[in-house]
C-alpha cells in the first residue's frame, strides 16, 4: 500500500499524542487513512494493525463499529442527513428523499448492513445519520465536512451544484 511521505509524517506525529499506548492512535490513524484514500481497505486495516503492533482483528473491530468509517468508497461528495427526532419533525425524511431525487440516488436499494447509498455516476453518496447536534435549526445535513442548517427542499439543487 502506497503511503505518501506527507501522510506518513502526519501518522507518526499523531502517534506521539498517545505516549502511554500506541493502540490509542487507532482512531486518528483510521481518520487519516480514510481522508486520504476515501475509505478503509482491507489492506489498510492490515497496515494500521501492523503499524500499531496490533492484530488485524483489533482494527477490523473498530472499522465495523463506527459508522463514520467505510470499507468501500463513497461518492465524490458525501451527504449526511440527520434523522433524529427534532430534525425529523422539521422534515429531514423528506429532505433525504429530495436529495436522493436530485442526486440520482436510488434510495430503495438500502440493504442490510449497507447504509451507504450512491449515485450511479459515483458523484454523490448519502447517509441517514443520527443527531448532528443542531436540533433547533433543522433539518440539518453535512456535505463532506461542511455543515448546513435549516435546509429547505428548494435549496437542494443549488447546494448540490456547489459540489460537483
Amino acid at each position: 500500500m502506497e503511503i505518501p511521505a506527507e501522510l506518513e509524517a502526519k501518522i507518526e506525529e499523531v502517534i506521539t499524542h498517545y505516549p502511554i499506548s500506541k493502540r490509542s492512535a487507532s482512531l486518528p490513524l483510521l481518520h487519516l487513512i480514510q481522508e486520504h484514500f476515501g475509505f478503509i481497505s482491507d489492506e489498510a486495516i492490515g497496515w494500521v494493525a501492523k503499524k500499531l503492533e496490533l492484530q488485524p482483528i483489533n482494527i477490523l473491530e473498530l472499522v465495523t463499529f463506527y459508522p463514520m468509517f467505510r470499507q468501500e468508497p463513497a461518492g465524490k461528495h458525501h451527504i449526511r442527513v440527520c434523522r433524529t427526532l427534532s430534525c425529523a419533525m422539521a422534515g429531514s425524511y423528506e429532505l433525504l428523499n429530495t436529495f436522493c431525487k436530485h442526486a440520482n440516488i436510488n434510495s430503495s436499494t438500502s440493504g442490510h448492513g449497507s447504509h451507504l447509498l450512491k449515485s450511479s455516476d459515483g458523484k454523490y453518496s448519502i447517509e441517514f445519520v443520527e443527531c448532528l447536534a443542531s436540533c433547533g435549526f433543522g433539518p440539518v445535513c453535512m456535505i463532506n465536512d461542511d455543515f448546513y442548517e435549516a435546509v429547505s427542499a428548494e435549496e437542494v439543487p443549488q447546494l448540490l451544484q456547489k459540489y460537483s
Binding site: 488485524p56 482483528i57 477490523l60 465495523t64
Partner: protein, 558 residues
Amino acid sequence: MSTATPLLNVQIDGVWHQFPKGTRVIEACMQAGKFVPHYCYHPKLSSPGNCRMCLIEMGMPRMGPERKPELGEDGKPLINWIPRPQISCAQDVAEGMGIRTDSALVRDCRHGVMEFLLINHPLDCPICDQAGECQLQEFSVQYGTGGSRFLEEKVKKPKRVELGPRVTLDDERCILCSRCIRFMKEVAKDDVLGFASRGSHTYLTAHPGKRLDSNYSLNTVDICPVGALTSTDFRFKMRVWFLKETKSICTSCATGCNTVIGSRQNIILRQTPRENDEVNACWMCDYGRLNFHYVNSEERLQKPQIRTAAGLENTRWEVAMARAAEELKGFPAAQIAVIASAKMTNEELWLTRRFIDALGGPAHDVVPRTAEADSILLSADRNPNTRGAQLLQVCGEQPGSRLGEIAGKVRSGEIKVLVALGEDATQCGFSNEDLAKLSSLIVMDILPNATTASATVLLPASSFAEKRGSMINGKGRLQRLNRAIAAPGDARDDWEVLRDLVQQVTGSNGVYLIEDVFSQIARAVPGMNGLTLSKIGDSGVHLEDGKEVTAAVEKAPV
C-alpha cells in the same frame, strides 16, 4: 506456611456462611449450594459482566455511628439491600455482604435475559450439535418464561463460517458472551477473534488474513455455551446424549491432559478436556484432542498372524504365542533386541521389563519423540510415558540412545531376533533390508506399517482408549487411563499379550488381573507404595520423585 486467608461472613438467602477473602460472589453462592445461572463468566477467564444472567440481589451491612455495622437480633449485621440488581461474577465477597439468589426480582431478571437471548436465536435445536449440553436450552427450561411474545423478524447473520481449519461458526446462535475472544487472548495468547458491527447486528469474526488456526482453537468450542462454535470434526456426528463418557488422559505428549472420551458402540466420536488444575486446567490442545481417528481406522490389526511360506496368515492366539516362543528359544540374549514404546502404560512397561529379564537381558530401548513445545500445554516430549519407561527400566536416562547400536547389530547380523512392541522400527533407524536380515521379527501393534509387514509373528493389540492402566506424565504425576471401547476383532490388551509372552518364556503362572500388575509396581517403587489403580482416582497422584528407581524394581519377580 503462608498466613491464613481471613474468612468473611456472608449471608446467602438468609443463611450466614463463611468464605475466604477473594472468593468471587458467584463462586460463594455455588459453594453454598445456590447455583447462579451464567453465560459469560468462566472461572479461568476475565469477567466482562455482559450476559447479565447472573444478576442477583446484593446488600451491604447497614452502618451505624462510628462506621460500625448495626447488628440484628441474631448478632449478625443488618443488611441494606441495593435496589438495583447486581451481577455476581465480577465482585468478591465482602464482610457482612448479603445475597439473594431466588427473590422475585432475581427471577424476573432471569426471565428478562432469557427472553432477550431467545428472540433472535434461530430455532436450530433439531440440527444443532450443542443440543443436550446447551446452556441456553437448560436455563430457558429452568429460568425462562416458557413462551414467546416476539412477533418481529429475527436478525440474520452468517451461518456457516469456517473460522479456521477446525472450527465452524454459526453467528446467529452466538449470544455474544465473548468467552472465545477472551480465551484466545488470555490463555491461547493468540488474539485472533473479535466482534464486528454494532448493537444487535454485532457478530463474532476473525480477520480474513488471520484465521483461527491456533493449536488451542477447539477449547473455544468447549467453552461456547451454545452451538455457535462447533468442532468441524464432530459436527453432525452424534447426539451428545448417546455418548458414553469415559474419563481418561490424552496420550499424545508427556503433559497427559485429563480428558473425557466420548464414544458410542465402540467408536470414538470425540475427546474433550477434563478439569484438573494440577495438569491442564480445563484445556487441551487440538493436536491431542483430535488424535483418535486412527483408533477407529478400518485398517486396525484384528487377527494374530504368523508368517508361512504363503506370507502372513491369520491364526489363533495360542498358535501365534507358541510360534513366538519357539522363535525366541535358542537365541542367547546377545542376539535378541527389544524395542518397546514410551506410549505404553506402566503395567505394560513393567511386564516388558519382566520379559526382558526372562530373556536374559537383551538390548532394549524405547523410541523417543521430540518436537517443539509451546508455552501452554504441549510438551516437547511427544511420548506420554517416558517417565514410566525410565522408572521401570525399559530405557535409560536418554530414551533412544541405544537404538543406533541395536540397528547396527541387526545390520551386521549379530542380532537375529527383534521384538517390536508398539513401534515401527523403520521409523527409528532400521531399514527394510535390515529387517529382512532377521530370522525372527515379533511385532505387537495396532495398525499396519512397514515393520508389521515384515513380521514373522504379528500380535494385534489395543489403543489408548481400549485399555485400563496408568502413566506418569512429564511432571511426575501418576494418572490413569480407563477403557472407553473394546479393541476390534481379536485384538487383545497389550498387558495380557506381554504377560503371555513372559509366561511362554519362563513357563511360570502369570498374573490374572491388571490390578495385580499395578500392585507389584506399587510395592517396588517407593513413591507408589500403598497405591492401587483405583486409588489413583480421576485426578491422579503426584509422585514425590518419579525418577526413583531401586534395586527392587530390577529384581522383582513376576
